[in-house]
């Protein structure tokens, strides 16, 4: 079932990739930059290998090839997959929800 979470309940977003020091770190800084540009404070962005995403993570942005792995690590998390590093739809979903006090939701 597609999960969702109130943006107000999100204080940390995880970016997951395979090794945890390459693309996830790059995507982390891209999202931090977008949050800063949007004037959003109080939301941390952390990166992790998909198999090490904390079980209590609430929102996870992950490459779609690693979505299943990340889901096993954090079964309760809202999972936002992407396939193209040049265009990550999760950024707009997250920022839209945070700025409108809406919900961050998985695609149905």
């Amino acid at each position: 079932m597609a999960k969702s979470i109130r943006a107000a309940d999100v204080d940390c977003i995880y970016i997951a990739c395979e090794a945890g020091f390459g693309s996830s770190l790059m995507v982390t800084s891209q999202l931090k930059k977008r949050l800063k540009q949007a004037g959003i404070k109080g939301v941390a962005v952390r990166h992790a290998p998909a198999i090490e995403v904390p079980a209590d993570a609430k929102v996870v942005v992950v490459h779609d090839r690693l979505e299943a792995v990340a889901r096993r690590s954090a079964p309760q998390a809202v999972m936002l997959p992407f396939s193209n590093f040049m265009s990550i739809p999760a950024f707009d979903i997250i920022i839209g929800a945070l700025t409108s006090d809406g919900e961050i939701a998985e695609r149905a």
Binding site: D11, G22, K32, M86
Partner: protein, 158 residues
């Protein structure tokens, strides 16, 4: 020029190779791996992790940039941070619909290479810069563009 620990430049000009003839992905990853091994950044086993990683999931980022690095299991084979850059002006077929002109080999454990990753993020978003890096014959251009200072975003509330 931003420097890593112990005053080393984040991208050493010694680890930049320009104008390479097109080859296949495996050969490019092996060359990137050899450069990192010879520079003392990784143990030879790390290169196996680089090949394994491409096998499970391409490291192509977009706009002609691929970023091979070891897989999760190869993290222990990193001795110190290192970044090498291979330029293939005519491109390498990296995967379906993926033509790599800039291959950036990574060896990293900590977040000391974040400056280079952030600069790469800008390159994959900007075609003009991607084209410049794919065609320049000046190593200094590559080093400068990948190591230029970036905005400090380290404002984690914790």
């Amino acid at each position: 020029m931003p420097e890593g620990p112990e005053g080393r430049s984040l991208v050493s000009p010694d680890l930049v190779r320009l104008g390479l003839p097109s080859t296949d992905r495996r050969s490019a990853v092996l060359l990137a791996g050899e450069l990192l091994v010879s520079a003392g950044c990784v143990r030879p086993e790390y290169v196996d992790g680089m090949l394994a990683r491409e096998g499970t999931m391409s490291t192509y980022l977009g706009n002609g940039v691929a970023m091979p690095h070891g897989d999760f299991g190869a993290r222990d084979q990193v001795l110190r941070m290192g970044i090498c850059v291979l330029q293939y002006p005519d491109g390498i077929v990296w995967g379906p619909d993926e033509l790599a002109t800039l291959v950036v080999g990574l060896a990293a454990t900590e977040e000391e290479h974040i400056t280079v990753l952030m600069n790469l993020a800008e390159v994959i978003e900007d075609e003009a810069t991607a084209r410049l890096l794919a065609t320049t014959d000046d190593v200094a251009v590559i080093v400068e563009r990948l190591t230029r200072p970036v905005e400090d975003l380290d404002d984690d509330p914790e």
